[in-house]
Point group: C2
Chain length 338, copies 2
């Protein structure tokens, strides 16, 4: 396998056009002799979260957390458990939520709004530090319902490797997601080394209460829904620079991908294709437009199946005789690594 002589390898990526396009781009923007050289402060990369850094199937992890909270609340107040979304949470009926996600992809956001309102109500008045405690408690005890791994072992290892590779080449990495900003903050640093201040996401409005321990608490109304057309504006607000690299996986990422680069600087747009039913999931729902757009505009499509040597972080071969765990379907098949 060809390796670059750079200080950091783009590890876990198989040779192919995807890896080549990343390495070529990084070379072009970091080589001072290149016509497309970009100074370090402008080497900004943005990544979507759910489905780009870790799985979003069967449900986004944030929803699993919300259901966990709803179920706890409905157990305390049985009357709540008689209507959605608390009912779905209490009975483990994920159909309502799966359907909600499908409807969202079709442009029907009514059930989503019911859910968003319930979420907002649930956390209204809660100080941000208290939310952090509750969410941290969940994320440290939960495992993925299908993959049967700790959530912290569900990051896509090649994406983490890509982040480190970009950082080694002077890039600043931000995560820009339609998911809840403060929820991402409790795990994203442990999951892939991105600090809380580098997160852009959905948020409830906030209020400073000097009469209540000088704390900041959530209000009962949303402040920002961070998807589609809104994503580039939120990226600008937070970073103050136009990214030159963007990596997403769903239709809500199209505008973020378009925003990368621009007239003055080169841009690399990457779209992750979930096409690996053995090691992760295979689906097109919510991604068909972005994959079509990628095809027509010549953006780089990354195939989980073909481009990644491994999906999830696993034990290294040879250490304590433990074989790498690359896929839930083949947990005990040792691989030869030369």
């Amino acid at each position: 396998m060809t390796r670059t002589n750079d200080i950091a390898h783009l590890d876990l990526w198989r040779d192919g056009t995807a890896r080549q396009s990343i390495e070529d781009f990084v070379h072009r923007v970091t080589d001072v002799a290149s016509a497309e050289f970009v100074e370090v402060p402008s080497r900004v990369a943005v990544f979507d979260n759910d489905g780009t850094l870790w799985p979003e199937k069967p449900l986004p992890v944030e929803l699993i957390f919300i259901l966990d909270r709803f179920a706890a609340l409905a157990r305390d107040e049985p009357a709540m458990g008689e209507r959605h979304p608390w009912k779905a949470a209490l009975t483990g009926d994920v159909d309502w939520l799966t359907e909600l996600a499908w409807k969202h992809c079709q442009g029907d956001d009514r059930d989503l709004q019911v859910l968003v309102n319930a979420i907002t109500e649930t956390f209204a008045g809660m100080p941000v530090d208290e939310y952090e405690r509750v969410a941290k408690d969940f994320i440290h005890r939960a495992e993925h319902p299908v993959l049967r791994r700790r959530l912290f072992d569900c990051s896509y290892a090649p994406m983490v490797s890509l982040m480190r590779y970009l950082e080694a080449h002077g890039f600043s990495i931000y995560v820009a997601s339609g998911g809840d900003r403060d929820f991402m903050r409790v795990f994203i640093e442990d999951l892939c080394g991105i600090p809380a201040g580098h997160l852009i996401g959905r948020a409830s409005a906030l209020r400073f209460a000097s009469d209540d321990g000088d704390s900041v608490a959530y209000l009962a109304n949303p402040h920002a829904f961070d998807d589609g057309l809104v994503k580039p504006t939120r990226i600008w607000s937070q970073i103050g620079r136009r990214p030159i690299l963007a990596f997403g996986n769903s239709d809500g990422d199209i505008e973020m991908l378009q925003f990368a680069g621009g007239r003055l600087r080169p841009g690399l747009r990457l779209v992750l294709r979930h096409d690996d039913p053995l090691r992760e999931f295979s689906y097109m729902a919510g991604s068909s437009h972005v994959l079509d757009t990628a095809d027509s505009k010549g953006w780089t499509i990354v195939s989980m199946k073909d481009d990644w040597e491994r999906i999830f972080p696993g034990e290294q071969p040879g250490i304590d005789g433990v074989a790498p765990v690359d896929a839930q379907s083949t947990p005990s098949v040792p691989r030869n690594v030369s």
Copy 2:
């Protein structure tokens, strides 16, 4: 003079209670044996901008820039020049603006709203990259109207020294100001080494226009006015951590100062007092509440006159025979530096 043995000195600060309280605090939160030890990711410090990092008298620099734009517009369209604020800009009548600032301190924001609306209108529709170009052009050619220094030589040198000292001790520094976020972005990195993504400030709403070069442009309505009670919520939104150190100078900084620390962690609150008419300015307008609060709560007051060896960055003594320029009133008096 006593110096710590730390890797970075708190340079340009005279011995005294202010310097001592900073050095003691930094020691307490960075010493692993201390009961108040704070892990590196939580060592967050926030600084106000105007009047804290550089002068805000006779007008905040942002207003000088706005007047410069207004005058240019009124020269192109004489009808505009017949009413405020374009009239004030064209005729150089700063009284209207000084009065506006005074009224703001008294809680009367009607003229301020006229001004804010005019600013919003002026930049509505302008892509963020174009604004950046215009603001950069101004900031690189302008000098301070009273101090007669390049704006880039108007940063308070001891504040820049404090930022480097804190960074050397694992702190992340953010600037949280009521001033315009995107305006600060064009100079704050050159002025005091803080990157664009570490700025929190007032902002216009934004729109992504995929039909217009995939650019982000300003809308004609404000998105956030970042002062007083709003400051802690904006700090949380951007950073996702509660600062443990806050440094301000005006009444709009009170809540930001209150927010520092909290129940779980120690906090240091610093208030800059403008009491040096020879080297900078001496005034209490807009600061009397924060200074009273500091007195009653035991926050640390920093006196520009007593606590700072130097105010502005100047030539080093002995280099090319140029004496240090410490004060506009004594531009050519050499100092003895042992």
